[in-house]
Amino acid sequence: MAYAQAQSQHPRFSVLSTASLGSIEHLSPAASATRFSLPSAPSINTALAGGKTGTRPNIYDRNLNKTRTTEVSASAFAFLFSEVVQYTQKRVSGIADLERRLNTLGYRVGTRVLELMVWRAEGTSKAPKREIRFLPALMSIHTQVWKSVFGKPADAIEKSVENSDEYMIIDNDPPITRHISVPRDMSQLSCSSFSAGIVEAVLDGLGFPARVTAHNTPNDQYPNRTTILIKLEQSVMDREEALKT
């Protein structure tokens, strides 16, 4: 991953840095620095120089447990996620479309979260296991997935009373939407569709295909309360029924 990033950033930043070098002749270095406002440019250049002389870093040399306990800055993530939402919003024709796209983006995250999370848990065990029953899988989403993605377990799991194939994961204050205030005319929108995508990917990977959506369900105590609604496909219900005996 590190290599891919370096490669993807390289041409863009090198163009900028040569441009800024050219401008040094006319402008003071300070002016060019403010103009391009790239405080990290020197460090990227040194990293590239190091890469050229030594061996190129590759993703297979990296220890997967290296970032196990590290955390991402919440403000950096809020900023990135706000860009994600804005970028997506410019390219869609309605709230449903926007939610669907956020869901797709979350799905890409979820497939990786699942594989990495289980590898970290089971990678050293003698007989690594998969979840094959739905309820334990749902519990592991509620605790393990939420912990590895958001740093805390979700607040509740509920089973729908009306429909036996519907389950809900409830988060009283989802970290990813903590800094988002949705305009009144878009009150239907829940940016937690991104989390819904993650849940959908995890369920899909484990073999429980489902349609997962996010809904705002505020109450007096928690104005940001969000419900992730899981609607399982019939095949999953049939299989659970068959495994019960």
């Binding site: 991953m1 891919a4 590759n58 993703i59 297979y60 990296r62 997967l64 890409r108 497939t111 990786r112 699942l114 594989e115 990495l116 289980v118 590898w119 089971e122 990678g123 007989a127 690594p128 296991k129 998969r130 979840e131 094959i132 899909d204 990977g205 484990l206 073999g207 299989r239 495994l243």
Partner: protein, 180 residues
């Protein structure tokens, strides 16, 4: 003695395949020639070929040298792929009931034993082998799993991208040499 590894995506697209010729002594050989002759035509597999002669001759017309660069003899390649593909049915049956990732010896076809490894994300690693080597194969699968996790963390990798990384290939080969 040879091993054939296939990595299959959740939708059963082959993403990577490897043939490994092991130099280890074979424990239970049906034909001793098979261990030291890379040419398939003289190995015990010829029996299978005869059984499947209809398919093989048809395929040879289209692709007389298919895959010969990577495989000892190109003409048996499709039979091996077929055995691996056929075992998917059994693997999918077993993985619904068993909660283990490593499914040892799920299927047998003539001298081939099929072992599989199912990752939590529903990727399937299928290995065709001749001799029993449960612990070695498990360690091999665990190595491949780690390499696969690293591959899929790459944002440019999707579930259907064939894995073409030379480093991935080299690592899998090194692990195969170590354990198989």
């Amino acid at each position: 003695m040879s091993h054939h590894l296939f990595l299959l995506s959740p939708s059963d697209t082959p993403l990577y395949e490897l043939t490994h010729f092991s130099s280890r002594p074979v424990q239970n050989v049906s034909s001793p020639l098979a261990s030291n002759l890379p040419s398939w035509s003289t190995s015990a597999f010829a029996g299978t070929l005869t059984a499947l002669s209809g398919a093989s001759s048809a395929n040879q017309q289209y692709n007389p040298q298919g895959g010969s660069a990577r495989i000892g003899g190109g003409k048996d390649r499709h039979v091996i792929q077929m055995v691996a593909n056929a075992s998917l049915d059994v693997i999918e049956d077993v993985m619904r009931k068993e909660n283990l990732m490593y499914l040892k010896s799920v299927d047998k076809f003539n001298e081939w034993t099929v072992s599989a490894f199912v990752t939590p994300g529903n990727m399937k690693f299928v290995l065709l082998h001749e001799a029993r080597n449960d612990e070695g194969i498990k360690s091999f699968f665990m190595d491949v799993w780690e390499l696969y996790v690293k591959t899929m963390l790459n944002p440019f990798h999707t579930a259907h991208t064939p894995i073409r990384s030379a480093i991935f290939d080299a690592r899998v080969r090194a692990s195969a040499k170590k354990y198989l």
